[in-house]
Symmetry: C3
Subunit: 206 residues, 3 copies
């Protein structure tokens, strides 16, 4: 246990919590997009861009504070990693959303909605976990569950890719779908990275 | 403001400036390659490889010094990040150049020259900014302008990708072009990373 | 030369050595897979997954120790980088192995076995180098040789990609092979990253 020379700066916790709330918005927008028609998707994609901007602002606020303050509630590097990986979750979801619109892909394979459900669940768990960084209590369940989800997502992703290569004969269509599906997988990986960083922080504090 | 126990080691500034000059060379070579025939492209690609080696040497010199000295003009991690991201700019431009030759792509879509112009402008701005790290003065314009350029490049990149998927029927040709265009986009992202690192350094010093 | 306040914690060296031994296993499994039929490949891919799990456990042990101890035999960040890049070598080899099975690719271009031979040699050199971290002696040959190997691998990789684009007419088959070949190249890059980290550590200690 490390010495604390000053009271902890609590505002980082609020900023992380705010950042994670945008992830819930983003994952829910992705879920809505799956069943939507092209025009609605465009509309939802705009709202995704807004959520991404809001998340970006939260990240910048964290980074600016980090660069200008001396005392931080936990390791500077861990704060940096946590902010970056939360930002990555949003970026990958936003990129997936962009590609759905850009590539004018109408129908997505059924398994894609499994991927998006994992992202929704991961986002909710992350949003619930962030406020707990203050007390460092009951965080273990969170990172264990995220790791379980990510393993499941990984298996599902691999099956989906194999299925797409078996079933889709048009190479250009395959290229489009593959890229979207991979961005969703990147988002799932980024949620795992967030959970690993939280685990690192909790271990150092224990 | 941090205490300075010794005079600043100025040579880092010279090394960063030298590194950025290679980026100007690289971006200009890319611009020349666009309109060139296959044989000339091969020649230009060799000169790109030389520029990449020179930039690589500059990076190694910075890293070696960083590992062997105790006092640095600003945060070790920021020096490391700045050297790495300057190196990434060059690597991505070099990769794009390599692919143009390797894939024997004769004609590139018109918008690719917009991408390369952004890289030329970003390289010039970066080369102008590096010597200013010494005084930390008037750097804000630089990072604001790079961010503006990168946003513009990003939009242009997205339009280009959409257009390529609409217009190119040959999937193998599409794969080739897409990879080249993405390397150019990676280079633009790397220039933004350089600017963000400079912003971080300037904020810490202010 | 830095002051040592306590005896060095030797167990990191054992963990790095153990981690590198899994890389030898992984590279050898890849070599066996190349000539194998589909059923045998599936079997070998399972053993690769086991090697990947074992390597993962070694990495986690290193990371946990790193987060919970105060005194480390060399820079915390370098220990972190070394553990991460060893882990990346394994991950990329495992991904290549997975894709061979997932994509049901029967025959691979002849040059792929050159790539895998480089990985086998790099893994052996890495496994030989890790125990030398204790004394920091005769490590230079290792990183020089890895860099030489990686340059050679890079050239061979580029020729292979050019050849594949020239010779493979089926775009979906090309997509599959390209992804496998790129994972192998990522693994070679990761071995170079390990060697660069070792060089950094050695320079700091000298």
């Amino acid at each position: 246990m490390r010495l604390r020379l000053t009271p902890r700066d609590t505002s980082y916790f609020d900023l992380f919590a705010a950042s994670a709330v945008h992830l819930v918005t983003g994952a829910n927008l992705l879920a809505e997009m799956l069943g939507a028609d092209r025009a609605t998707r465009k509309e939802l994609n705009k709202r995704m861009a807004e959520a991404e901007h809001a998340a970006d602002d939260a990240t910048h606020t964290i980074m600016r504070r980090l660069n200008q303050t001396f005392v931080t509630p936990f390791d500077r590097d861990d704060i940096y990693d946590l902010a970056s990986s939360l930002d990555d979750c949003m970026d990958h979801m936003d990129e997936a959303s962009d590609l759905m619109v850009l590539y004018k892909v109408d129908e997505l394979p059924a398994r894609v909605s499994d991927q998006v459900q994992v992202l929704q669940r991961a986002a909710e768990l992350t949003a619930e976990a962030m406020p707990k960084l203050r007390s460092m209590e009951s965080l273990q369940e969170y990172w264990v569950e995220i790791n379980r989800l990510e393993n499941q997502a990984d298996k599902s992703h691999r099956k989906l890719i194999a299925q797409m290569f078996d079933e889709i004969a048009d190479p250009i269509h395959l290229m489009k779908l593959k890229e979207i599906v991979e961005k969703l997988e990147d988002a799932a990986d980024a949620f795992e990275k967030v959970a690993n960083t939280v685990e690192t922080i909790a271990l150092k504090e224990s």
